[in-house]
Symmetry: C2
Subunit: 399 residues, 2 copies
């Protein structure tokens, strides 16, 4: 029997997946598991999202346009203009989740063997999309000691080759929560202009910025408008991860025309969830204010409890709902597994995501975990208590 493709063989698994059987075992053993390992918020999807589908009166669930419903694209365009991103519906292509937006973007801009530079740690699924597109991810390491700020431009410059097509960032960042400063965004703008690169910017966490931090979008710089592609999604913004409605936003007409051809091949994004997403754009600002207040409270709670643990290194990022935390352990993957298999406090334990899976460079992030603050503060307190107690007795502790 013939084997599968080389592409299938090199397609990565989710780094969290290795832990799933151990979480299943923990639950089977009667333990309660606090899930801090996933980017699935517990925040309620706003009512606005459900209204049109509850009242749906549609005789046929038809194919929509390949670029997405025009009314939805117009609604998003107005939303972006409110965020000082000067676009029209023509600059927006609706995709099936941010995932499809990334795949289309890589495929439209790059051929097999082309390279995209990405600060690491980065969202692990970028690896899977790169394998599908045959694209090589070239990581540049950001460091926990620096709060995961943008690595020096010099370190980017030295990675640029004739095969480099783009720099890609996630801002606010998954997994680090870091929000890029204006100076950093300007530096990225300048190097992309100088080296003739595209700037791909995954901004699905745009709404989640704390401490009055300014979110500087790559779309805020008209001088690079033709080389910026923004990836976005309703998943986090409206806590509607399962809706699979994302978008590509770009002023580069040739790029958008080509992306639409990929869109036409797969016909259209889901119709019903586009209709729901369109209504969700009318979610009142008070919803976001409340959500951000909640996330900030959770982050503050988590950061202060983590920093109180001896040997733990915890930055205080100003966006998204993740922390990458350094632990006083040699192998955070083993620690995460041990939490599930060998530890509990009163029958409760915690699942976290080992951070090495978010790095492309082997050996980096070995003692780090990503923690998502997707539980309420009460549960966060309990979960942090479990980690604190675990670190006291974990046999693989380094100091």
């Amino acid at each position: 029997m013939k084997t599968l493709s080389q592409r299938a063989m090199t397609m990565p698994s989710s780094p969290i997946r290795k832990l799933v059987p151990f979480a299943d075992l923990a639950r089977a053993a009667g333990k309660k598991v606090y899930h801090l390992n996933i980017g699935q918020p517990d925040i309620h999807t706003p009512d606005t999202f459900f209204q049109p589908i509850k009242n749906m009166d549609m005789p046929v669930v038809e194919y929509g346009p390949s670029a997405g419903l025009m009314s939805l694209r117009e609604k998003f365009a107005a939303y972006y203009r409110k965020n000082r991103i000067d676009v029209t519906a023509e600059d927006i292509l609706i995709t099936t989740g941010g995932s499809e937006a990334i795949i289309f973007t890589l495929m439209v801009l790059m051929d097999a063997g082309d390279e995209v530079i990405i600060p690491e740690p980065f969202y692990t699924n970028y690896n899977g999309f790169a394998v599908q597109a045959g694209v090589k991810v070239v990581p540049i390491a950001s460091r926990i000691e620096d709060g995961f700020q943008l690595p020096p431009i010099a370190s980017i410059r030295e990675k640029i080759t004739p095969h480099t097509r783009a720099i890609m960032i996630c801002n606010p960042n998954n997994p680090t929560g870091y929000v890029y400063s204006r100076a950093e965004m300007e530096a990225l703008r300048d190097i992309c202009l100088e080296k003739d690169l595209f700037l791909l910017t995954d901004e699905v966490y745009r709404e989640f910025v704390y401490d009055g931090a300014e979110h500087v979008s790559a779309m805020h710089f008209p001088e690079i408008a033709d080389r910026v592609v923004m990836i976005d999604s309703v998943s986090k913004r409206y806590s509607a991860c399962g809706a699979r409605i994302g978008m590509i936003v770009s002023k580069n007409r040739a790029f958008m025309d080509a992306a639409l051809k990929f869109g036409m091949a797969r016909l259209c994004p889901p119709t019903i969830e586009q209709i729901a997403s369109e209504a969700a754009v009318d979610t009142p600002d008070s919803y976001f204010e409340e959500v951000n207040r909640e996330y900030k409270l959770r982050r503050d709670t988590m950061v202060s409890l983590l920093r109180a643990m001896p040997g733990v290194v915890c930055p205080n990022p100003r966006g998204a709902f993740y922390l990458v935390v350094g632990l006083p352990v040699k192998d955070a993957g083993h620690f995460a597994q041990w939490l599930l298999t060998d530890f509990d406090v009163d029958g409760e334990t915690v699942m976290v995501a080992p951070a090495d899976g978010f790095y492309a460079t082997p050996g980096l992030g070995q003692n780090e975990v990503r923690i998502a603050y997707v539980l309420n503060t009460e549960d966060i307190r309990k979960a942090m208590h479990i980690i604190a107690e675990a670190l006291k007795v974990y046999p693989g502790r380094t100091n």
Copy 2:
């Protein structure tokens, strides 16, 4: 500025797309256009589909499992067993439409430069998916004179090279409506066994078979269970094209495991439309009986009216809801455009899909169009009258 990828440059446009501006012009000029050019049925989506979403009480629209909701996979497995396809939920991966199912399948089985043999004419988007996967489509021509039956196995055999990985069919066929016979399916089974090839079978029109024809699925042959991948979708079955719920079905465990890794990268298919699709599986048989009665009536109406037109060659296929028809014209693409720009009967005209776009071999299908019987018989009669009148006066007529 750097150019786009080679992949983007070679990504095909929909063959119908060229005609769209002319349809817009026709409408702008006040003409009514009967759309026989698309696979969007007018058949009502069954009530069962809408019930759970109207009653939805879901606090958070969460990510579902990457393989799809287990309850949906189990429901589909039971549906297949009813259709004598012996599978369990483990053999089913839910995808975002049949489109994603095809992309995943090509990517899991083939690397750049690998070849898949497909009888032509075939669903045009196979081309787009092949470009995305870097796969070469090798067409074997079926002929209108033979009612588009499977080309002789000898013609398949001579196309097999060391790069050939699979044969792919669509059964019942889009665009021809042809339903492969048991003997043809057995011949495909045998050549795949002999030459160690996968058999990819797109069966999204399974429900639409007329005249008592038997639908023989590639999944009906246990002796090739490990080399068959079935593509399916709720789009046509429940007239829910916009739902974007499809599936990959295979007993090949290694293949399914690899396909799941592609599924994990994009997280999950749309949650709400999975829930609706699950309910749709309970649609009573009477719905399908009524729909099939209606389609058969339309086909009979259309075939008899087309065959009454001098010079028109019209097979009488037993499945799906398409006909590929030979017209007494030199360039069916020009005829289709002319219908929109230069012709009407009492202010009404027709849009059809030129069939050359469904062939990969240049020069084939030049005088053929695909007609979808997605309108009621009253409209079909009017549309056929318009085509009959048009052929009488069309300046590019050949005989």
